[in-house]
């Protein structure tokens, strides 16, 4: 064998691989230029691909509405409006009746009807491989679904659930024939929905969709291409260099910098609250309400929002977010006053401070920075905290089983899509098997409100609960989150409740497809 054989062989192999492998970049670049495809830089693609029984919430809800439709829709003012479901009413306190549109087809031609909805309900409730996570967030109270006729479905719940229509805004029906044919695994890679686009390809880092002109809400663009770019720096670079039209989840600083370079920046408040929850046990310093208040006064929320979040976000004043029902807009945040905090500690009998242990979930770098600042603030008043970092799965298990072994845990609660403030409180309810902290009055209000259908009474109950929790805090609310996106060369960008109207989005120079 020739002496240089080995290196030549390697080089040859390299060139063969590089040249022969289809470069999707080139194909889509050329394709995009011709055919009006919008390129989007996403932070993360749905981990369950496109199977709605396997995942819910973000990041799935960022992409799925491009090819799936929910039964209802939550508009800009937070009202539930008809979508695939044309109307709904209560037949009995535990029985909702939904009627559906009759003019909708799945992209493979199958008719959309009540069977499709029932299939999806059954799949989430009983399907093999379906995840509890989805059932808990979408259909926690649902016992079963009953077909009444082709376009009417009854949903039975275990207990009265006034929020069910709102929840169904993220519930997507499944095409019965196709789903039965290919099974859940294959369906996840090649989904069929009723939405404005059809999924053409779903690879490990990108999803390509083309327009579905026969959809009941046909899109303005010819196609969408989602590219997964986990690094914030890279996402910024992608939009800056024009490689994508839209970049989601930019940092606030990026937004500030890019805004002056011809890129439209949209910042929206996310209905998410970052807080630290107290796990109160006998003998722990946290058993004293003075201590629980003291910690709330020790944290400089203002500095965190201004410097670490570049102003994107709002200081939390209570355990809820501004957009949620029952939020008390008059309430002032806890005053940042370390000396008062120390005084409260002294009165509670801890002049030297004390040590606590905390379970922490950090996902992004910003999370890390914010918690480091909080821990440093607490150390300043003498409260030393030992941190136990964990991954999302472990944290979630603990949350749902209430198995907290330490004194504090971090919780960034997402109140979308329901904007239901009690979603944050439910883990503190005395009904939980092992609540970290049980306040009977608050629990009673939560439970009563859950059964209450009159909006004014509901709001009064929520306000009362908030007032009680202010006097005796079960947690340290820190700040509300905000999301920044940037785009160029696009029109029709509309976001309601964090859901983008993909059907309205289009490239600037192109005329909307007829």
């Amino acid at each position: 064998m020739h002496r240089y054989g080995l290196p030549l062989l390697l080089a040859a192999q390299f060139f063969m691989t590089a040249c022969s492998a289809p470069t999707p970049d080139e194909k889509t670049l050329a394709g995009a230029a011709e055919s009006n495809v919008i390129r989007i830089a996403s932070r993360r693609l749905p981990p369950g691909f496109a199977n709605p029984a396997v995942h819910s919430g973000q990041p799935s809800v960022d992409i799925w509405p491009a090819f799936y439709d929910g039964l209802t829709f939550i508009d800009a003012s937070g009202e539930v409006v008809p979508w695939l479901a044309s109307e709904w009413r209560l037949v009995s306190p535990t029985r909702w009746r939904f009627s559906f549109r009759q003019d909708v087809e799945f992209s493979n031609g199958e008719r959309f009807d009540a069977t499709a909805v029932k299939l999806a309900v059954d799949e989430i409730l009983f399907g093999y491989g379906a995840r509890e996570l989805v059932r808990n967030s979408l259909l926690p109270t649902v016992a079963s679904a009953e077909l009444i006729d082709d376009f009417t479905l009854d949903i039975n719940t275990y207990e009265p659930d006034p929020l069910l229509p709102k929840r169904l805004s993220q519930f997507y029906p499944l095409p019965p024939r196709y789903f039965a044919e290919v099974g859940p695994q294959k369906f996840a890679r090649q989904p069929v929905g009723t939405g404005p686009f059809i999924v053409e390809r779903w690879d490990a880092g990108r999803v390509l969709m083309r327009a579905n002109p026969k959809s009941w809400r046909p899109p303005a663009a010819a196609g969408l291409e989602f590219i997964e770019i986990p690094e914030p720096i890279a996402r910024r670079q992608a939009i800056e260099s024009g490689q994508v039209h839209l970049a989601q989840y930019l940092t606030a600083e990026d937004g500030r910098d890019l805004g002056s370079r011809g890129i439209t920046i949209k910042s929206a408040a996310e209905p998410r609250l970052r807080m630290i929850v107290y796990v109160v046990r006998d003998g722990s310093p946290l058993a004293s309400p003075l201590v629980r208040r003291a910690l709330n006064h020790a944290i400089d929320r203002e500095a965190i929002v201004r410097h670490l979040l570049a102003g994107a976000g709002a200081v939390a004043t209570q355990i809820g977010v501004r957009a949620s029902e029952g939020f008390d807009h008059e309430l002032e945040p806890f005053r940042y006053d370390p000396s008062e905090a120390k005084e409260l500690l002294r009165r509670a009998g801890y002049p030297q401070g004390f040590e606590l242990e905390m379970d922490l979930l950090v996902v992004t770098h910003t999370d890390r920075a914010v918690f480091e600042a909080i821990l440093a603030d607490l150390r300043d008043i003498g409260v030393r905290i030992k941190v136990n970092t964990m991954e999302y799965e472990r944290w979630r298990t603990k949350l749902l089983s209430g198995d907290w072994r330490h004194d504090l845990f971090s919780f960034t609660v997402a109140l979308d899509p329901l904007l239901d403030i009690t979603r944050a409180w439910q883990y503190l309810s005395c009904d939980q098997p092992r609540p970290p902290f049980c306040q009977p009055e608050v629990s009673r209000l939560i439970e009563a409100r859950g059964r209450e259908f009159d909006p004014d009474t509901r709001i009064a109950m929520l306000r009362e609960a908030t007032r009680l929790m202010r006097l005796d805090p079960p947690a340290i609310p820190v700040h509300e989150l905000a999301q920044t996106s940037g785009y160029r060369g696009l029109e029709g960008y509309e976001v309601h409740n964090l859901i983008l109207r993909w059907d309205r989005l289009r490239l600037q120079s192109a005329a909307p497809t007829p």
Binding site: E253, H307, L308, L375, A376, R379, T389
Partner: protein
């Protein structure tokens, strides 16, 4: 022939290490003093030689404080790897043929395992923590020690005086401790130096990926991860930890080479 630059470098490093290990109050308060309004300042700004990090803390102070973590984990991993490796190597050299081939097979297999992959998997299974990290790194880096030990031990065992000792009935254990180990010690020291450098890089690497010690610990790899996140706002932030890591690695490499040259140790097998 002394090398003054090398000696100075070693002294400086040792002093830094001792300070870091003692964790004096002044260092701790210097490293934790923060000012959110003064974050991400470049090097040579007022009062901060290497600038400030994302929370306005002094970078130099954090580097000093964090030395014990990075060094500690790398040292623990090296210790684990060396202990396992030397023991295995000695066994392979003096044991019966079956043992020799068994150890040889295990070495081949362990080398085939991509160490970082398994270290990551281990951290997933056992949770984060300094001990897990040291264990994961040490468990997959012992083959080098084993190979060198085995080769060198065989070399010593072939010597005449050893054969003579054996003929006199001296126990193998005593042969190993009295004759073999002292002779191969310099070679092993060189391997230790080089492996320590490699493991330091791996420690910082795992920490960089987010699998290292917890929040707020100024471990150098974690500081690099922060620098990466803030690259748009503060591209200079990576200088501090990068220089610290490079300094340590180069120092250990230089030390290793010096000892190797002194004891006239052969080159290629130390790769």
């Amino acid at each position: 022939m002394k090398s003054w630059p090398l000696i100075t470098a070693v002294l400086v490093t040792v002093i830094v290490l001792i300070i870091s290990l003692l964790e004096p109050a002044w260092l701790e308060s210097w490293a934790t003093e923060r000012n959110l309004a003064n974050r991400l300042q470049p090097p040579l700004s007022a009062g901060h030689l290497l600038g400030t990090d994302g929370l306005g803390r002094d970078v130099l102070a954090r580097l000093l404080l964090g030395a014990r973590h990075t060094f500690g984990i790398a040292a623990a991993a090296t210790l684990i790897a060396a202990s396992l490796g030397i023991a295995a190597g000695v066994l392979a050299a003096i044991g019966p043929a079956l043992l020799r081939s068994a150890v040889g097979r295990i070495i081949d297999l362990t080398i085939a395992f991509p160490s970082l992959v398994l270290a990551v998997a281990m951290v997933a299974a056992l949770g984060r923590g300094q001990l897990t990290l040291a264990l994961a790194l040490g468990l997959f880096n012992w083959p080098v020690f084993a190979r060198v030990t085995a080769a060198e031990t065989r070399g010593v065992l072939a010597q005449q005086y050893v054969t003579a000792a054996r003929a006199f009935g001296v126990s193998p254990w005593r042969i190993v401790t009295a004759h073999v180990l002292p002779v191969i010690a310099p070679t092993l020291a060189v391997v230790v130096a080089f492996q320590f450098a490699t493991l330091l890089i791996s420690t910082a690497g795992l920490s960089f990926l987010g699998l290292g010690p917890g929040l707020g610990v100024p471990e150098w790899g974690a500081m690099l991860a922060e620098a990466r996140a803030e690259m748009n706002q503060a591209p200079w932030l990576m200088l501090g930890p990068a220089i610290a890591i490079a300094w340590t690695v180069l120092l250990m490499n230089a030390l290793g080479e010096r000892v190797a040259r002194r004891s006239r140790v052969a080159g290629n097998e130390l790769l």
